[in-house]
């Protein structure tokens, strides 16, 4: 497996990396930049003004009088703060679920304490008791699990982990992700940035899970895993320290693609006016503003260009990683 270095990148890929780096830097420093106009603050004297230096609206204003440049910079911040954590968390969740499903299949026999923890967590999630009761139950179960952990763990009943993970992933995949997220956002009402990260994570883990599960099926049969077992390591340690690090390798390739997909999804949601609060800047929301002034090209072109360049950059890096593997 070859390592990816700056020198191994092609010219366009270097540009892509430069753009993405600039985006991350812009996202970090946006609140500290000396912008003449903050985002989500209308300039009532400059509604739908084209780009010009007259009123320091360098990229113009939208039909609500908001500065396009500020919206772009803070939209980049939203994109980074939303898609990067959501993609990483979805990859992490998918890796754990897919890795476990691939390693143990349907024949794993978790110890009693894990059954106890799993049943309590599942019951809590499904029944939705009041938070206090849930916490009390969770703490009591955790205590019980710790007590059981001091004794010698006895294998419990076989658990169909692979079927559960595959079934849940298939169930999530049967509904288009946009429809699923729109439905969940509609049920939740207006969602915060953190809420949207959670929503994206919970709806995006199946793809990484499938990749890791498939890779794990190959890895678990390799000699070094057998050697670790023969050395007397527990199944959990073999999985965590030896098998999983090898099984998650494909995620390095799909992470940029996953981010691109989430960025598109966030932009679509914002364009439709669903999800983030209206005062949170977003490229999708900026694009939607052109409906009120179809002749204002600057309201459409700048956020569309940012979105397109970012998606192409992520796609370009994915190709590089795929080639290097």
């Amino acid at each position: 497996m070859a390592n990816v270095t700056i020198s191994s990148l092609s010219g366009p890929q270097k540009l892509a990396l430069g753009w993405l780096s600039a985006l991350v830097v812009a996202a970090i420093v946006a609140p500290y930049l000396p912008l003449p106009y903050p985002p989500a603050v209308p300039d009532l004297t400059q509604i739908t003004q084209p780009p010009s230096g007259a009123a320091k609206h360098w990229l113009g204003t939208d039909p609500q009088g908001r500065d396009v440049l500020s919206n772009l910079l803070f939209g980049a911040r939203t994109a980074v703060l939303l898609t990067l954590p959501a993609a990483v968390l979805a990859a992490g969740l998918g890796a754990l679920a897919g890795g476990a499903a691939g390693f143990w299949g349907n024949s794993g026999r978790p110890a009693l304490r894990y059954w106890l923890l799993g049943l309590t967590a599942g019951g809590w999630l499904l029944a939705g008791p009041p938070p206090t009761a849930g916490w009390v139950a969770a703490l009591a179960t955790l205590g019980g699990a710790l007590v059981l952990a001091t004794r010698r763990a006895r294998p419990g009943w076989p658990f169909p982990l692979d079927s559960l993970v595959q079934g849940t992933a298939t169930a999530l995949d049967t509904v288009p992700r946009l429809v699923l997220v729109v439905a969940l956002a509609a049920v939740a009402g207006e969602v915060s940035l953190l809420g949207l990260v959670t929503l994206f994570t919970l709806t995006s883990w199946p793809h990484p899970a499938r990749l890791v599960q498939a890779q794990m099926l190959r890895v678990r049969a390799l000699p070094f895993v057998e050697a670790a077992r023969a050395a007397g390591m527990t199944e959990g340690r073999v999985w965590l320290y030896h098998a999983l690090p090898h099984a998650v390798q494909p995620l390095r390739t799909v992470l940029p693609l996953s981010m691109a997909g989430l960025l598109s999804l966030e932009s679509t949601l914002s364009f439709l006016g669903i999800g983030l609060p209206p005062d949170v800047a977003s490229w999708g929301r900026s694009l939607a503003a052109v409906r009120y002034a179809p002749a204002a090209w600057w309201v459409f072109v700048f956020p569309a260009a940012c979105l397109a360049i970012t998606l192409m950059s992520l796609s370009s890096l994915t190709k590089q990683q795929a080639n290097s593997r």
Partner: protein
């Protein structure tokens, strides 16, 4: 064979493109939201009022040609008799031709029944009850079943008009046993809220609610010119002209009794931009209350100018913000006054209406020179003054730039000044106002959470008091000055969204409605405007211009400032000549 099929298909295609398009029969009008209910007693919004005017008739109705009230079911405007110094008698006579769908004549008993329903316990009549509380009794003419006299408390000259502006309902349809005749109007008006109904009255209430539930209200026996043919909630309402309407038998029907369109369809399109596209594509024929920037854009576009006509008139629709006075933080006038200074009304008028509108100190239009209180100053945009007023109201700002405002409440609890601003989605103007207020409040360290709300649930959210600040358009008219449905304490939970109402304000509102002369009413209205500015339950921002765009083939709009801004029943579609190549 394949060649034959191809030729046939091509022929159909060519014929389809050469032959003139058959215009749809229904006149399609854009509505921003669904009326929600067709109950003629509830009438929670202008859409519901428009439906009621199609399905039912009032004693009087607005003549959009003359822009004044004209007799509809009544033969003429009422004769007015002043009794002593506090009573007015209004004598009406119903038209001999006026009849229900089954051919039975409309009689004084139907009018009495309708008035009693306005006070009947358990019915959704809070709004109408507040509006018509000046009518205390209806006296029948023993010699003529079509004549009656309304006894009104007070001597307002406006009574002659407002006493006839409500839909008359059929007694036979709701109360075939005449159960309500044994109870007088005064008895119902004084009915204790906790007093139970006897079984026959309870049955009547249930029957009314059952008959007016959902779309059933659209199929009631009525005396209006149209009948409902379809109501798909949040999509459209369709109406068909009755084939045998009683007014068609009049030799020379007046303007208010003419109903031109054979079919009407109100298409619900919440989003203003989508509605504009629908108009341009010919999917709707009429777009009333078009946002000023879109109106201006279409008017100056060569492509749309050829297909559309544009109309503009002064309107009595006012853009305003309101505060939820039930919230402890907003319960005192000083805090509300302070927050009023955070709305940049002048800038908002320029930005959202391109300056086409008029600022105001209150709910009276500035063009009404007699009643408008010109001694009051317009509330300026002044964040510094807002901060000073907040301190005066006992608020203290926390340390640091992000420090919020807090104060000790009367019960010893700490109150925090953070606000939730609710507005209807789909219109840019509401968004701009919300953003501007939020930005101004943020400068002072007051956090404001924006709550864009779908039209379908917006009014119910306001009625439930689920907001701190809201932005809305209030539709008014130049004839009647009865603010009871929106600001009287009796209307809290219905149309009085801020929850405003003190003994003094209730009395003043009642006095305005009952003022015995224009001069007296003007004095009271000026006091009312001063009181509203001091109490600040609402922040009147500006009056809007009535901008209407319609397809060129639509005529007879009679565009006016009186709501809904055009004459629905006078609309006509005139075939445009097909241009020859």
């Amino acid at each position: 064979m394949r060649i034959l099929k191809f030729v046939a298909a091509a022929g159909f295609f060519l014929l389809g493109n050469c032959s003139p398009r058959v215009p749809p029969t229904a006149i399609r009008i854009r509505w921003a939201h669904d009326p929600g209910t067709l109950d003629p007693l509830a009438l929670p919004n202008q859409q519901a009022v428009d439906v009621a005017n199609l399905l039912h008739c009032g004693l009087l109705q607005i003549d959009y040609d003359r822009q004044f009230y004209a007799p509809s079911l009544a033969e003429s405007l009422p004769t007015v008799q002043l009794i002593g110094d506090s009573l007015t008698r209004l004598s009406y006579r119903l038209r001999a031709a006026a009849a229900w769908d089954d051919g039975h004549p409309v009689l004084a008993h139907d009018v009495a029944f309708t008035l009693k329903l306005m006070y009947f316990p358990g019915l959704p009549n809070e709004g109408t009850r507040a509006q018509y509380s000046f009518i205390r009794a209806l006296r029948y003419d023993t010699n003529d079943a079509r004549s009656f006299t309304l006894e009104c408390r007070g001597q307002s000259p406006g009574f002659a008009l407002s006493s006839g502006d409500f839909p008359i309902l059929s007694e036979a349809a709701f109360d075939p046993q005449h159960q309500l005749r044994r109870i007088s109007l005064a008895q119902l008006q004084d009915w204790p809220t906790t007093a139970p109904l006897d079984s026959s009255l309870a049955t009547l209430a249930k029957r009314y609610l059952a008959l007016t539930a959902g779309s059933r209200a659209g199929y009631l026996a009525s005396c209006g010119p149209y009948q409902l043919t379809a109501w798909k909630k949040d999509r459209y309402l369709s109406f068909r002209r009755k084939a045998h309407w009683w007014a068609d038998r009049l030799p020379n029907p007046p303007f208010v009794l003419r109903a031109q369109p054979r079919q009407l369809q109100f298409v619900i399109i919440p989003d203003a931009v989508t509605a504009s596209l629908a108009l341009q594509r010919g999917e709707v024929d009429l777009y009333p209350q078009m946002p000023a920037p879109e109106f201006d854009r279409l008017r100056h576009s060569s492509t749309t100018r050829a297909a559309l006509n544009f109309y503009q008139a002064t309107s009595y629709d006012i853009m305003y913000a309101g505060f939820n006075m039930r919230r402890p933080a907003l319960a005192d006038a000083l805090t509300r006054q302070a927050l009023s200074h955070l709305f940049d009304a002048a800038g908002l008028l320029r930005a959202t209406q391109l300056g086409q509108g008029q600022r105001t100190v209150g709910l009276i239009h500035p063009s009404n020179r007699a009643d408008y209180n010109d001694s009051l100053a317009l509330v300026p945009y002044a964040p510094a003054k807002a901060a000073a007023l907040l301190r005066q109201a006992g608020w203290q700002r926390g340390a640091g730039t992000d420090g919020g405002w807090q104060r000790r409440g009367s019960n010893g609890t700490t109150q925090f000044l953070h606000l939730q601003l609710r507005y209807r989605t789909g219109e840019s103007a509401f968004e701009v106002i919300a953003f501007q207020f939020r930005a101004a409040a943020a400068q002072l360290g007051i956090p404001v959470v924006l709550q864009p709300t779908e039209a379908a649930v917006y009014t119910s959210s306001l009625q439930a008091g689920d907001f701190d600040v809201y932005v809305r358009v209030l539709k008014g008219n130049p004839f009647v000055f009865n603010f009871a449905p929106i600001l009287h304490s009796r209307a809290i939970g219905a149309g009085n969204f801020p929850g405003f109402g003190t003994l003094a304000s209730d009395r003043l509102i009642e006095a305005v409605a009952a003022a015995d002369s224009p001069a007296h009413r003007a004095r009271l209205l000026r006091r009312f405007q001063a009181m509203m500015q001091a109490e600040a339950p609402l922040v009147p921002l500006f009056f809007l211009a009535n901008c209407i765009a319609a397809r060129r083939e639509l005529t007879g709009l009679h565009v006016t400032g009186i709501k809904p801004g055009y004459a629905i029943s006078a609309l006509e579609r005139v075939e445009q000549p097909v241009p020859t190549p």
